[in-house]
C-alpha cells in the first residue's frame, strides 16, 4: 500500500518538486532524495536534535515531520547558511575559531537551532544560550566551547 504525493517546496531558496511516499520522513527526503547530507540523523525520535532544520523561520526536528507535510513550505538546512557553498557563515566561523565542534555530528542541528534564536534574541545571556541548545545533544565538546562560540559571534555582531 504505497500512497504517493507530489510536493513542491523551497529549500535554501531553491524550489524542488518531487513525488514522495506519505511515510517518508522529511529528514530522509532532505538527505536521500536531495543529497543534502549536512542534516544529520541520530535518533529518529526527537531527542538528539541532529536533524534540526528551519521551517518557515522556526527550528524543528526534520525526523518528526513527513516530507509531504513540507509541501509549499520554506526550509533552510545547514547548507543554506552561508552565501556561497565555499563560505562560512559568521556563526560557523565563530564555531571554528572557538572549537565549538569536534566530530561535528551535532553541529548542523545546533546551528539550525541557534539561527532563529539569535534572530529573535541578538544579545542573549549565557543561560538563554544554554536553554536554546538544551534540545541538542553533543557527545564531544561538553558544550562549553559551543557556548563560547555563540558568545564570540554575539560580541562580533553587536
Amino acid at each position: 500500500m504505497s500512497d504517493n504525493h507530489s510536493i513542491k517546496l523551497t529549500i535554501n531558496g531553491e524550489e524542488y518538486t518531487s513525488s514522495v511516499e506519505a511515510r517518508m520522513l522529511l529528514s530522509d527526503f532532505i538527505r536521500h532524495e536531495l543529497g543534502l547530507t549536512g542534516t544529520h540523523v541520530g535518533c529518529e525520535h526527537g531527542v538528539c536534535g541532529a536533524c534540526t532544520v528551519i521551517l518557515n523561520g522556526r527550528s524543528v526536528r526534520s525526523c518528526l515531520m513527513f516530507a509531504v507535510q513540507a509541501h509549499g513550505q520554506q526550509i533552510t538546512t545547514v547548507e543554506g547558511m552561508a552565501a556561497e557553498a565555499t563560505d562560512l557563515h559568521p556563526l560557523q566561523e565563530a564555531f571554528r575559531e572557538a572549537h565549538g565542534l569536534q566530530c561535528g555530528f551535532c553541529t548542523p542541528g545546533i546551528l539550525m537551532s541557534l539561527i532563529p534564536f539569535l534572530d529573535d534574541n541578538p544579545c542573549p545571556s549565557e543561560e538563554e544560550i544554554r536553554a536554546a541548545i538544551s534540545g541538542n545533544l553533543c557527545r564531544c565538546t561538553g558544550y562549553q566551547n559551543i557556548v563560547t562560540a555563540v558568545k564570540l559571534y554575539v560580541e562580533r555582531e553587536s
Binding site: D3, E21, A22, L25, G46, L55, C63, G135
Partner: protein, 292 residues
C-alpha cells in the same frame, strides 16, 4: 526504523476533517504536531493505517479572549505560541510557568496544545495544568459539538473521553481569580525530559489572607493527572503556616498520590519528591497570592 505505510489525508477545512473522521473512526489517527505520534510510528510502536493531518487548518490555531472570564485556545495552536503569549503570561500564569518544562524549544515549535492534551500522557504538563484550572475541552464531530470538563476527560494512560469520530478543537482556560497564587514545579533527570514527579498548585485567598480555594494536581504520580482533593481541602478556611503546609504535604504524598514504580524512580522516591514539591509549591503559591 521507518514508519509503516499509511494513507495520508490533509483536509483543508475542519468540516472536511470531520467527515473523514466520521467515515474512518478509530482507524484514522489525527496528526497534529506529530511530536508524540511520529516517534511512535518511527519505532513502529504505532502503525496507523490512515492519518488525518490537521496542519492545514488555520481555523484551529488561535488564542482568543472573546470572553472576560476565560480564554479559548485552538487545538492546533503551537506550544511555543502559548509560551510567548503576553495575555497568558499575565492572566493565566500557571499555564505560562508550566510551558517551558515541555520538551525542548524545537519540539514546542511544532507540538500543539490539542496534541499534548489528547495524547493524555500522565507525565505531560498540560493535562495537569488543565485539571488544576478546571479547563474544559470542546470536541466536535459531524453530529455536533460537546464540552467535556477536565475531570471527566482524562481516563488513564493515553486514554481520554474523545470519541472515535470526534476531534478535539478547542481548550477553554479560565483566567486566574483575584488574589490567586500559582506554582508549577517538577523534577526530571535532564532538562526537557518527561518528569519523574510534578505539581500544579493554585491558592485563592480572601482579603484577610484566609485560603478560600486550593487545588493540588500531580504529574506522573498516577495513570492520569491526579488531584489531591482531601489534602487541598485541609487548607480551605485556614491561614497558611509551616505546620499546616507540612501536614498537607505529608497527607498528599503518603495517602493520595498513586505512584507507579519506574526505571528512574522507586515509589518511595516519588513520594519523597511529591512531599518536597508540595511544600515548595504551597510556599510559592501562597507568597504570590499575598502579592497579587
Amino acid at each position: 526504523m521507518k514508519p509503516a505505510s499509511f494513507k495520508y489525508y490533509a483536509p483543508e477545512s475542519l468540516e472536511e476533517a470531520l467527515v473523514l473522521k466520521a467515515q474512518y473512526g478509530d482507524e484514522a489517527r489525527i496528526l497534529a504536531g506529530g511530536q508524540s505520534l511520529i516517534p511512535a510510528m518511527n519505532f513502529r510502536i504505532m502503525q496507523p493505517t490512515i492519518l488525518l493531518d490537521l496542519n492545514l487548518l488555520a481555523e484551529l490555531s488561535y488564542i482568543s479572549s472573546r470572553d472576560s472570564a476565560v480564554l479559548h485556545i485552538g487545538a492546533m495552536t503551537r506550544l511555543s505560541e502559548v509560551e510567548d503569549d503576553p495575555l497568558i503570561a499575565d492572566r493565566v500564569a500557571l499555564l505560562h510557568e508550566a510551558l517551558p518544562y515541555i520538551a525542548h524549544p524545537q519540539i514546542r515549535n511544532r507540538g500543539t496544545v490539542g496534541g499534548n492534551i489528547a495524547h493524555a500522557d500522565p507525565a505531560a504538563e498540560l493535562p495537569v495544568v488543565a485539571l488544576a484550572m478546571d479547563s474544559r475541552f470542546r470536541v466536535q464531530s459531524t453530529n455536533g459539538t460537546r464540552w467535556i470538563n477536565s475531570i471527566d476527560f482524562f481516563r488513564g494512560y493515553f486514554e481520554t473521553a474523545i470519541g472515535p469520530s470526534e476531534i478535539l478543537v478547542e481548550i477553554e482556560v479560565p483566567f486566574h481569580a483575584a488574589n490567586t497564587g500559582w506554582a508549577f514545579l517538577e523534577v526530571s533527570r535532564r532538562s526537557g525530559d518527561y518528569a519523574m514527579a510534578g505539581i500544579a498548585a493554585l491558592i485563592t485567598l480572601d482579603n484577610k489572607h484566609i485560603c478560600r480555594k486550593a487545588r493540588l494536581v500531580y504529574l506522573n504520580l498516577s495513570d492520569a493527572p491526579l488531584e489531591a482533593k482531601q489534602s487541598a481541602d485541609m487548607l480551605v478556611g485556614e491561614t497558611l503556616s509551616d505546620e499546616l503546609i507540612k501536614q498537607v504535604a505529608n497527607k498528599a504524598s503518603e495517602e493520595e498520590i498513586m505512584p507507579m514504580e519506574s526505571l528512574h524512580a522507586t515509589v518511595n522516591y516519588q513520594r519523597h519528591l511529591a512531599c518536597i514539591l508540595t511544600k515548595r509549591a504551597l510556599e510559592l503559591a501562597y507568597g504570590r497570592a499575598m502579592e497579587t
